[in-house]
């Protein structure tokens, strides 16, 4: 019995450890609609997860330093509807992401569009985001 309880707690702990640390909030509570960003860099990781995906990108600062970005995307089902696939995320891929910077975390952004090296462009924004013309018509 004790072993079972331990295993359940272990499993819960393991599941919790990989969760995003961001609580549910309004877009404008986390991101600044007045701070649009265009990020050109290398995508190192993509979390294809609910309720939102996360793109991890490294960009190069003017000083030459590498900056790590964590970019929120729409839910995977929405990404799929817009034609984006898990297989599109390849090792060492470069891409351009347009979106909005986090209010308090300068390495956080909410993505609106993703343009891959081959020129394909995808809408990756959450439903109901800023009406900035990035939405698919």
């Amino acid at each position: 019995m004790k072993r079972n309880i331990f295993l359940v707690l272990l499993a819960v702990g393991a599941l919790c450890s990989v969760q995003s640390t961001y609580a549910h909030h309004a877009f404008a509570a986390e991101y600044d609609p007045m701070k649009p960003v265009t990020l050109n860099g290398i995508i190192t990781r993509m979390e294809w997860a609910n309720p939102h995906g996360w793109i991890y990108m490294d960009t190069k600062e003017p000083s030459g330093a590498v900056k790590h970005w964590m970019i929120e995307t729409a839910a995977p089902s929405q990404l799929s509807r817009h034609g984006l696939k898990k297989a599109d995320f390849t090792d060492g891929m470069t891409a351009v992401v347009k979106g909005y910077q986090g209010k308090t975390d300068p390495g956080l952004a909410n993505g609106r569009t993703l343009v891959l090296k081959d020129g394909r462009s995808f809408y990756i924004g959450s439903v109901g985001g800023p009406n900035d013309g990035a939405e698919p018509q």
Binding site: N4, L7, V8, L10, A11, V12, A14, L15, C16, V18, Q19, S20, Y22, A23, H24, H25, A26, F27, A28, A29, E30, Y31, P33, T44, R45, M46, E47, W48, A49, N50, P51, H52, E72, A75, P76, S77, Q78, K86, F89, T90, D91, G92, M93, N110, G125, S126, V127, G128, G129, P130, N131
Partner: protein, 196 residues
């Protein structure tokens, strides 16, 4: 025959009186005042959200996902009875947590607490006003939350990772729908997308 006629009339009248007396309603009793509910809400809605709903729906959402690390796809899903049981526990907790949200008499936030994002997310008294204005709408969203987790629970019982993943998206849609009405409606927020 005359004997029968003489007593039949009396017997018929007597039976009629019995039927009328037997079928008449009893004297109405005074309606008792409604008893106080046996439950006692302790946590506020915000606390239920942060302590019950959110951490457990995160377990459901995170149970199945793909981590693409430098192009390598790493699939995550429960792999044994204990892990499935843990996800089921969380799914059930969210579903029952929805009942907690519907219980009348629960404060929106702890005493003295304000909006977590003034000007963007409503203050507790504003949320209270919206709930009081449309308690049925509030309850309907809570029921929708409960219903949205049902496919996830079914997927868990079938140990079907793909179905669980697809169910997760629907749960978020319900969360957002409610938040955009009761927490950060568009006029107050300016924008209405969620952020996690």
């Amino acid at each position: 025959m005359a004997f029968f006629r003489r007593y039949a009339t009396s017997a018929f009248v007597l039976c009629g009186i019995c039927v009328l007396v037997g079928c008449s309603k009893p004297a109405p009793e005074a309606t008792p005042a409604p008893a106080a509910p046996p439950y006692h809400p302790v946590a506020s809605i915000r606390e239920v959200m942060n302590s019950v709903i959110d951490p457990n729906v995160d377990v459901v959402w995170n149970a199945v996902k793909t981590d693409i690390d430098h192009g390598k796809q790493i699939e995550h899903a429960p792999t044994n009875e204990e892990e499935w049981a843990a996800v089921r526990h969380s799914a059930l907790t969210v579903m029952e947590g929805a009942n907690l949200l519907m219980m009348p008499g629960r404060a929106v936030a702890p005493p003295g607490a304000g909006s977590l994002s003034p000007g963007i997310e409503l203050a507790p008294d504003q949320v209270r006003a919206l709930i009081d204005k449309s308690p049925s709408g509030w309850n309907q969203f809570a029921r929708s939350l409960q219903d949205s987790v049902q496919p996830a629970l079914a997927a868990i019982d079938k140990k079907d990772p793909q179905a669980l993943f697809e169910a997760g998206d629907k749960i978020d849609e319900v969360c957002e729908s409610c938040h955009q009405v009761f927490w950060y409606p568009a006029p107050a927020a300016g924008t209405s997308a969620s952020a996690r």
